[in-house]
């Protein structure tokens, strides 16, 4: 292979990436339009923001303050103009404190990232070895145990698992706090709950990929060469098996952020999942729209990253 050819192959195709970026932008715009329309079908948010005994005048004043008295097309154009300038509007619930949606989200995002990080660590530390050795000792007791765990993880709802963890670790043995934030102890149970179903998915996918890879000829060749089993599993086979799980990992990382709604509610964790529940409860339109935009951006962003990583890892796709 000539040097020029090698250099060409090592470069990433800018056109393909630009096209994917364009797709991502269009997806986000469609998501924005869809969300804006759909939240307005849920009813009048003013009823949730003023006291039940408020007069019609008070309700109308609140409507004016929130800009809900304008015709819908104008409301949309204002919103779109704001979004293009990075302004997602003012949270209805926080209107009197003049808190922008971006501030409300940024205020809570770190807590969700923190929990997501530890869930990711748990997922990788537990899921990867289980997936690898489940494939390696296929059919054995270890494999059966790992498969049982995977089946449970995928079958058991997050909220139920979370409540069980609280029951055992907080109420029965008083080992860990049942909720709240403030110390590392607080994050263990919610992160474990969040990680449980993801671990299950990772085990299943990695196991099947590893079984396929371990049966391939190049692994036989590595063994013939005398490469150690540890090295075969963790360096050579995992690298190839990981390619298949990459898409899933991307979605998993995204769901660590977006799938935290129930977990944060159960554990009273002050992240964006609970913020979303709060926004829906109060029909806080700008906040709902902002959060869905963030969730959408995370998913689309992760897809984009996975696409690019595919191109990096597999030159045949370029």
């Amino acid at each position: 292979m000539s040097t020029q050819t090698a250099a060409r192959e090592s470069r990433l195709p800018g056109g393909a990436i630009l096209m994917r970026l364009g797709h991502a932008g269009i997806s986000l715009f469609l998501l924005l339009v869809f969300t804006w329309c759909i939240v307005r079908l849920t009813g009048d948010p003013v009823n949730f923001l003023v006291p039940p005994e408020a007069s019609l005048e008070q309700k109308e004043a609140a409507r004016q303050r929130l800009g809900l008295d304008e015709p819908l097309p104008m409301q949309f154009l204002h919103y779109l103009g704001g979004v293009l300038h990075g302004d997602l509007g003012i949270s209805f619930r926080r209107a009197s404190l003049n808190t922008p949606v971006t501030s409300a989200i940024l205020d809570r995002l770190p807590a969700t990232l923190y929990m997501g990080f530890w869930a990711l660590v748990m997922m990788l530390v537990i899921g990867v070895p289980l997936g690898i050795y489940s494939a390696y000792w296929r059919g054995g007791l270890f494999d059966q145990g790992a498969r049982l765990l995977a089946a449970l993880g995928q079958a058991v709802p997050d909220f139920w698992f979370g409540l069980m963890l609280i029951l055992v670790f907080s109420i029965s043995f008083n080992l860990l706090p049942a909720g709240g934030a403030g110390s590392f102890e607080n994050v263990i149970l919610p992160a474990a709950t969040l990680a449980f179903s993801l671990i299950a998915g990772l085990i299943r996918l990695l196991r099947s990929s590893m079984i396929e890879v371990l049966g391939s000829e190049y692994v036989s060749l590595l063994r013939i060469k005398g490469v150690s089993e540890w090295s075969i599993l963790w360096k050579h086979a995992l690298r190839n098996a990981a390619l298949t799980t990459l898409t899933y990992m991307g979605m998993m990382v995204a769901s660590l952020l977006t799938g935290s709604v129930l977990v944060e509610t159960i554990f009273n964790w002050p992240g964006i999942g609970r913020l979303f529940v709060e926004a829906v409860s109060f029909r806080d339109f700008p906040l709902i729209q902002g959060l869905i935009l963030v969730f959408g951006a995370v998913y689309i962003g992760m897809n984009l990253i996975v696409d690019v990583l595919y191109l990096v890892l597999n030159p045949r796709l370029r």
Binding site: P52, A111, L214, R223, T265
Partner: protein, 580 residues
């Protein structure tokens, strides 16, 4: 075995090809260097990511739920803590329930007799012509942080804020009426006395100002003058048992005991942390695990709480639940009576009443109270205003309707509908009272009666839209009226003359309300209220169910608690004593 299968590919060490191994070993130093650098890079990225994420750890700006550093902290979980705008004008909805812990009010309620008594006001009197209220303030009641003592100036400042254009307070209209909408009619007689002049008497004013109704908060004018609007919104300064330390929307409110609180008892805990926990099951497990000391409790979780050896406490009489039959706009100008409805039958009203009685007798109230409300309530004779704990709102001989399905079926036939008729039951959720469960139970009981029930499950504001437009024909729904220290305040929400939300209308209510608001004598006002109750009950204009108590759960650190009766929120944290 799979292990054996994979191992079978592996050659013995002796069979390895020396040439290949040597070539690999020869490349090792260079490879090792690259790998080391790569590992180092990965480790660096990981450490940086971990450090960044560690910085994301949500900080704990609240005192611990455990007692540390010699300070004691009481932690309570609420469903929602409001918008956390603590300025008087922004004090709306859930805000006022929290603000009342900090602010103090002019009027309070006697927990036993349910009479209105002075709090910050020592006395309040209405002139014989009903046009002037005179309030005398309690002397030497200190504001927090050294902002002086409560004076008439402070009250005037708050009054002005509450009736301002920006005000979202539910009682803004009544407070404005008390001064004819003009603060010039607020006359300061002295530091400790003020008069309110109006051409439109408002006899129920003390109840509007009562802490039992999250009445007007009295905050420091001096503090407001010396601070920005944003500071006033964030850190209110009042005279209550607790001082605001911090609040974070959707998360928590942190308070500390005000050592110079004028009232009695003074807080037994040093700190108070209120957490916003919307999910009822999550609130319960927080108390079960000791993370929280107290929490609002959904009736559906009462059994579980008791099984955990936790104490279930109740605030009695927070509401009166009843069933409204749609289109019941009797003799109203604004709205059309559904004359052909089976429960009205305008051409033969006696038959309409038989149908209403049949629908009432088909409801097994005791079963609902036992199974759904878990005993948190009492059967009543009349709807809307009756609370048998208050002797002024109950009469001997008022017996609740009895469940009698056979008689109900008989009345249904006599009313002209032996095979039943279609009725749409609206099922919705409000707060922690299981209105949806009650509605579902009633729907089932009416099916047993022979009615063709269609259930419509939706948010309350869908129902609000229907009542705003007075389009409720064919519909039936459960309504919970709130407790008010003055029945006229609650009744005022059901009137044609005052309403923009038409649930049901009946002439005796309009008449009773007019009588009440024009009557300076409280005993006579309550007599009018009893007349309204009786008129509604005798004709079964709506179907009475029961009064509702609000349930709370308390952990082992809580000894006793004396909340404000009738207030559907946490209150009286200063009365919470630590368990011995």
């Amino acid at each position: 075995m799979a292990r054996e299968r994979f191992d079978s590919f592996g050659p013995d060490k002796a069979q390895r090809t020396p040439g290949l191994l040597q070539r690999r070993l020869a490349r090792m130093p260079a490879l090792a260097g690259t790998a080391r650098r790569r590992r180092l890079s990965i480790a660096t990225v990981f450490v940086l990511a971990a450090a960044t994420l560690a910085a994301c750890a949500p900080g704990d700006d609240s005192p611990s739920g455990d007692d540390k550093g010699g300070e004691t902290t009481l932690t309570a979980d609420w469903a929602y803590l409001g918008t956390m705008d603590w300025s008087p004008a922004g004090s709306a909805s859930d805000n006022e329930k929290v603000l009342s812990l900090v602010s103090g009010a002019l009027v309070g309620i006697d927990h036993d007799s349910r009479d209105l008594v002075g709090e910050l006001a020592e006395s309040f009197d209405l002139s014989p012509d009903g046009k002037t209220w005179t309030f005398k303030l309690r002397p030497d009641v200190p504001f927090e942080d050294g902002y002086g003592t409560v004076t008439s100036d402070d009250v005037k400042y708050n009054w002005g804020e509450y009736i301002s254009k920006e005000s979202e307070h539910g009682a803004a209209d009544q407070l404005a009426q008390a001064v004819d909408g003009n603060m010039d009619n607020f006359e300061i007689v002295s530091d400790l006395e003020f008069k309110l002049h109006t051409e439109h008497p408002i006899t129920t004013l003390p109840a509007v100002l009562c802490s039992c109704a999250n009445g007007m908060a009295i905050l420091s004018k001096k503090y407001a003058d010396e601070h920005t609007a944003a500071e006033v919104k964030n850190l209110p300064v009042g005279t209550g048992p607790w001082q605001m330390v911090s609040s974070k929307v959707g998360v928590n409110v942190v308070m500390k005991a005000f050592p110079d609180y004028w009232g009695d008892p003074k807080p037994a805990f040093d700190n108070l942390v209120l957490n916003e926990v919307p999910d009822s099951a999550a609130r319960l497990v927080q108390v079960q695990s000791g993370e929280a000391d107290m929490a609002e409790l959904s009736p559906s979780l009462v059994t579980e709480a008791k099984a955990s050896n936790l104490e279930v406490l109740t605030v009695p009489d927070v509401g009166n639940a009843f069933v409204i039959l749609g289109g019941s706009y009797w003799d109203a100008d604004c709205c059309k009576l559904d004359a052909d409805a089976p429960w009205i039958q305008a051409d033969d009203p006696a038959k309409g009443q038989l149908i209403r009685e049949a629908m009432s007798e088909a409801i097994d109230r005791e079963l609902i109270l036992d199974k759904i409300m878990k005993g948190n309530g009492k059967l009543v004779y009349g709807p809307l205003l009756e609370y048998d704990a208050n002797p002024l709102l109950h009469e001997d001989g008022w017996d609740p309707p009895q469940f009698d399905l056979a008689d109900a079926k008989k009345k249904l036939a006599e009313g002209g509908y032996p095979n039943g008729f279609p009725v749409k039951v609206f099922i919705y959720d409000i707060g922690e009272t299981d209105v949806a469960g009650i509605s579902e139970a009633i729907a089932g009981m009416w099916e047993d009666l022979g009615l063709q029930v269609q259930r419509q499950t939706a948010d309350e504001d869908i129902l609000d839209a229907k009542t705003d437009a007075a389009e409720t024909d064919g519909l039936a729904w459960v309504k919970m009226a709130g407790f008010s220290a003055e029945p006229a305040l609650e009744l005022g929400r059901y009137l044609e003359s005052r309403g923009d939300d038409f649930k049901f209308l009946y002439p005796a209510m309009e008449q009773g309300y007019t009588d009440m608001v024009n009557e300076p004598d409280r005993t006579k006002r309550f007599a009018y209220a009893r007349q309204v109750i009786q008129a509604l009950a005798e004709k079964t204009i709506v179907i009475p169910l029961f009064t509702v108590d609000m349930a709370f759960v308390a952990g082992p650190r809580v000894g006793s608690w004396d909340p404000t009766p009738g207030l559907n929120a946490f209150s009286g944290f200063e009365t919470v004593t630590p368990a011995s």
